[in-house]
């Protein structure tokens, strides 16, 4: 049976861990709030750009811009967005396992671009060719952060090496639920023109529709990436928050159990000593 001192040491350790996990839980909660705000704040722009693209697509066809071109030949590129840091519960594992399934089901050439260290490490271990790696974008990703990534991906697509570029990231559904998803990025498929009241062909374009499109498409790609990065960030923080909350509760439970054991041992020791004293007195 463990000695009193051993048990006390374990209680102290559990208390220290509890303090750390608790602090991490609160930090994650506040970062989650910020990430959620950013995600919401970015939505109006994303919705608008979708709408404008639909308007233009109503007057132009897929042959009017190479970023809209559906190709049959070429490799598949997957952009995997994970976090840089661990201790985020099952989040990265789920996203990576999801990606692994997509990759094994795919026949033919495929490469990945990784955002975040966890994804890169996993892809490296699995010997999937990594075309490029971007470190995660910090606690507060900005639109400017994703522009280099957007440029790389559009260049890759335009070069003709890739027929299809997709995104894998963890979609934020709620604090308790995040789900890995696979989204198409390139070629761009504009949504149907559902503009309230005004169909695309009634718009005047300045300059020509094709010129507006030329400027709009790279923006559109960057916006999609930015949204995915924000969703992944919100998922990461919420997953970490829940994981740390569980860890704190486990530590509490452990402390309770250990305290009980400690008291039992202490009581046993006292009883034993009393018996020793009593029997010693009688022996005299």
């Amino acid at each position: 049976m463990a000695s009193q001192r051993d048990i006390r040491r374990r209680i102290t350790a559990a208390r220290n861990i509890k303090q750390i996990t608790r602090a991490m839980q609160f930090v994650a909660a506040s970062k989650l709030r910020r990430a959620q705000e950013s995600t919401l704040a970015a939505r109006p722009y994303a919705d608008k750009i979708d709408e404008v693209l639909a308007d233009i697509a109503a007057v132009l066809g897929a042959e009017d811009h190479p970023l809209l071109a559906q190709r049959t030949e070429g490799k598949r590129l997957i952009v995997l967005i994970t976090s840089d840091r661990g201790l985020a519960g099952p989040l990265n594992t789920n996203t990576i396992r999801f990606t692994a399934r997509v990759i094994t089901e795919h026949q033919g050439d495929l490469a990945v671009v990784t955002v975040g260290r966890k994804g890169r490490d996993a892809m490296r271990r699995a010997r999937v060719p990594i075309e490029a790696h971007f470190a995660g974008f910090g606690d507060r990703p900005t639109f400017a952060d994703v522009l280099p990534l957007a440029r790389l991906l559009t260049d890759d697509f335009l070069s003709g090496d890739y027929a299809q570029i997709e995104l894998v990231y963890s979609r934020f559904i709620s604090t308790l639920s995040q789900k890995p998803v696979l989204d198409d990025l390139l070629p761009i498929t504009p949504s149907a023109d559902t503009d309230q009241g005004i169909p695309g062909r009634q718009f005047l374009f300045e300059p020509q529709p094709a010129a507006v499109l030329e400027q709009l498409l790279p923006r559109y790609v960057a916006t999609r990436l930015y949204q995915a990065v924000l969703e992944a960030k919100a998922s990461e923080e919420s997953s970490r928050m829940v994981a740390m909350k569980n860890a704190t509760e486990n530590a509490e439970e452990l402390i309770e159990d250990l305290t009980l054991a400690y008291n039992k041992v202490r009581q046993a020791n006292i009883t034993r000593e009393m018996i020793e004293i009593a029997s010693g007195a009688r022996a005299r």
Partner: protein, 142 residues
């Protein structure tokens, strides 16, 4: 009929309200929009966006992007949009010095100057707006 104006950037909704009219840097130069404007999709330049509502005027420094006009609604999708009253003059002047330095160095090294030129243009725009705001306070018309 009131005119609904929304200014959005990739990172936030910068403005949303009904206005009387709005003036902004369109593709073919300054563009004024009143209610019942014909549907229009245009790219935006770098410049000043002025909003009139009643007897007040508000200005934004906007940089690039797109404009969607419908008879009852104007949506500005800009790269950045800063309200004149929120511009940090010192920061803008710092950005201007930096851009000028970059231009100078780049000129001698024969580097691509377009980024530095764009940065300078934006800094000058912000300075102009912030200084005028500073001189006149919130502007009243008439």
């Amino acid at each position: 009929m009131p005119l609904q104006l929304e200014i959005v950037t990739p990172e936030r909704l910068a403005f949303s309200d009904t206005v009387d009219s709005v003036q902004l840097p369109g593709y073919e130069g300054e563009l004024g929009v009143l209610p019942h404007h014909a549907p229009l999709l245009s790219t935006l330049g770098v410049g000043e966006l002025r909003i009139r509502k009643g007897d007040t005027e508000e200005a934004f420094a906007i940089v690039g992007g797109f404009l969607q006009v419908r008879p009852d609604k104007v949506v500005v999708m800009a790269e950045t949009a800063d309200m004149a009253s929120e511009i940090d003059l010192e920061k803008a002047q710092e950005a201007r010095r930096e851009a000028e330095r970059a231009l100078e160095v780049g000129f001698h090294e024969g580097a691509d100057l377009s980024a530095a030129r764009a940065a300078l243009q934006q800094a000058l725009l912000r300075i102009r707006l912030a200084e005028r705001r500073h001189r006149e306070g919130p502007r009243r018309r008439g």
